[in-house]
C-alpha cells in the first residue's frame, strides 16, 4: 500500500492544476507577506524609539511610545518576532490550502500526503518549543 501511495503516476500533472496551485501560492504570499513586512518595519521603528541610544523620535513621542509598549506588552522584539512568524507561516499555510483543494476535489491520497508534510512542519514547531 505504501508502494501505491508513493509510486502513483504523477507524470500527467495537468497544466491547469499547476496554475491553480501557483495562483494559491501567490495569494498566500501576498496576504501574509504584506502584514509581515509592516510588523517588521514597525518593530524596527519601535526599537529605535524605546532605545534612545540607537536614535529615533525626539521628546514626547518617545515617552508615549514607551508607555504604550509597556501597557500592551508589544515590545519591539515581540512585534518583530510576530512579523518573522507570519513570514515563516507562508509555506505551511500554502500546503494547508493545497490539502484543502485536494479534499474539495476528493483526491484523498494527495490530501493525505499534504497532511503528512504539514505534520512534519508541526513536529518542527513542537521540537522548537522543547529547545
Amino acid at each position: 500500500m505504501l508502494d501505491d501511495l508513493i509510486r502513483q503516476r504523477t507524470g500527467a500533472a495537468s497544466a491547469t492544476e499547476g496554475q491553480r496551485v501557483a495562483r494559491t501560492v501567490q495569494r498566500v504570499a501576498r496576504a501574509f507577506a504584506v502584514p509581515a513586512l509592516v510588523l517588521m518595519v514597525l518593530g524596527l521603528v519601535l526599537f529605535l524609539t524605546v532605545h534612545p541610544g540607537a536614535g529615533g523620535l525626539p521628546g514626547e513621542a518617545v515617552v508615549n511610545v514607551r508607555r504604550l509598549a509597556s501597557r500592551t506588552l508589544l515590545t519591539p522584539r515581540g512585534v518583530m518576532s510576530l512579523g518573522l512568524l507570519l513570514l515563516a507561516l507562508i509555506p505551511m499555510v500554502t500546503v494547508l490550502l493545497i490539502v484543502s483543494d485536494r479534499l474539495r476535489h476528493r483526491q484523498w491520497t494527495e490530501a493525505a500526503i499534504g497532511l503528512g508534510v504539514v505534520s512534519i512542519l508541526m513536529i518542527g514547531i513542537l521540537l522548537s518549543r522543547g529547545e
Binding site: 508513493i6 509510486r7 502513483q8 503516476r9 504523477t10 507524470g11 500527467a12 500533472a13 495537468s14 497544466a15 492544476e17 499547476g18 496554475q19 496551485v21 501557483a22 495562483r23 501560492v25 501567490q26 498566500v28 504570499a29 501576498r30 507577506a33 513586512l37 517588521m40 518593530g43 524596527l44 526599537f47 529605535l48 532605545h51 540607537a54 536614535g55 522584539r77 518583530m80 518576532s81 512579523g83 518573522l84 513570514l87 515563516a88 507561516l89 507562508i90 509555506p91 505551511m92 500554502t94 500546503v95 493545497i98 494527495e110 500526503i113 499534504g114 503528512g116 508534510v117 512534519i120 512542519l121 513536529i123 518542527g124 514547531i125 521540537l127 522548537s128 518549543r129 522543547g130 529547545e131
Partner: protein
C-alpha cells in the same frame, strides 16, 4: 544601529535580486555575507538565511505570473522526505561544531558552482519553440522513486544544516534520476524551497539562533530584492551574470573553508 540595519538590508537586497535572477535562492549568498562581512556565528547566519530563503520564495511568488506550474503532486511526495531531512539537519546543526557547519556550507557552495557551470554548458543552443516546449512537456512518467526520495532527504539535511534551499540537488535529481523535464523540475524545486526552509526555521528560532534585530532588516532586504529581481528577470540576460556568479561562488567556498580552518 541604523547603519548596521541598512547594511544588512543592502546585503539582503543583493541576495534577493541574485536569488530571483539566477534561481539559486538567497541562502547561498546570505550565509557567507553574514559570516564573512558581519562576523556572525555560522549558526545564527544559517538561521537568518533560512528566513531569507522563505522571503525570496514569497517575494518571487507574489509577483510572478502563474505560468508553467510546478508538478505539485511530485513536490508533495518529495517534501515528505525533504522536510524530514531538514528537521534532522537543523537538529544536527545544534550539536555539531560550527567549523563542521562551515565546511559543509563550503561543500554546498562548490557543488552549486559546479552545477551552475554544468547548466551553462548544457543549455540548448537555439531557443526554438520545440526546445522550450520540451522543457515543459507533460507526457512524462516519474521513475526511480526510492532514489529520488533518498536524495531529497539528503537535500533536506543539507538545507537544514547550511541554510540553502537545496535546489542544486533537487533539480538534477528530478531531471536526471526521475526523468522529469527540466523546466518542470526547476519550477517544482522553486515551489519546494520555501517549504523545506520552513521545516528548519522553527528549530533555529527555538534554539535562539535567529536574532530579530538581524533577521528583520535582512528579510526586508531579501523580499524587496526578490520582487525587484523577478521584474528584472525579463530584461536581464542571466547568462552573463552566471559567469560572474561561478567565480564568486568559488571565492566564497575558499573563504568559508578558511573560516572553518581558523575556527
Amino acid at each position: 544601529m541604523v547603519l548596521i540595519w541598512l547594511a544588512l538590508g543592502g546585503v539582503g537586497l543583493v541576495a534577493g535580486v541574485l536569488g530571483a535572477l539566477l534561481g539559486l535562492g538567497g541562502g547561498i549568498f546570505l550565509v557567507p555575507a553574514l559570516t564573512l562581512l558581519f562576523d556572525m556565528p555560522i549558526r545564527a547566519a544559517v538561521g537568518t538565511s533560512l528566513i531569507g530563503v522563505i522571503a525570496t520564495s514569497a517575494g518571487v511568488a507574489s509577483v510572478s505570473k502563474p505560468g508553467r506550474g510546478a508538478d505539485v503532486r511530485l513536490a508533495m511526495r518529495l517534501e515528505l522526505a525533504t522536510t524530514a531531512g531538514a528537521l534532522a539537519g537543523s537538529f544536527l546543526a545544534g550539536i555539531i561544531a560550527p567549523q563542521l557547519q562551515a565546511f559543509a556550507f563550503a561543500g554546498i557552495v562548490l557543488a552549486t558552482a559546479i552545477y551552475t557551470l554544468a547548466k551553462m554548458r548544457s543549455r540548448p543552443r537555439s531557443a526554438s519553440e520545440d526546445a522550450i516546449g520540451g522543457l515543459y512537456r507533460q507526457d512524462y512518467v516519474v521513475r526511480k522513486w526510492p532514489a529520488g526520495l533518498s536524495i531529497s532527504a539528503v537535500a533536506g539535511v543539507l538545507s537544514g544544516l547550511t541554510g540553502s534551499g537545496g535546489g542544486f540537488i533537487k533539480v538534477p535529481v528530478m531531471h536526471s534520476v526521475m526523468d522529469v523535464p527540466l523546466g518542470i523540475a526547476t519550477a517544482t524545486s522553486n515551489f519546494m524551497v520555501g517549504i523545506t526552509a520552513a521545516a528548519s526555521v522553527m528549530l533555529y528560532y527555538g534554539r535562539g539562533d535567529i536574532f530579530p534585530l538581524v533577521a528583520v532588516p535582512t528579510a526586508i532586504g531579501v523580499f524587496s530584492g526578490a520582487v525587484l529581481g523577478s521584474r528584472l528577470a525579463v530584461r536581464v540576460r542571466a547568462d552573463s551574470l552566471r559567469i560572474a556568479l561561478v567565480v564568486l561562488l568559488f571565492i566564497i567556498a575558499l573563504q568559508m573553508i578558511w573560516k572553518g580552518v581558523r575556527g
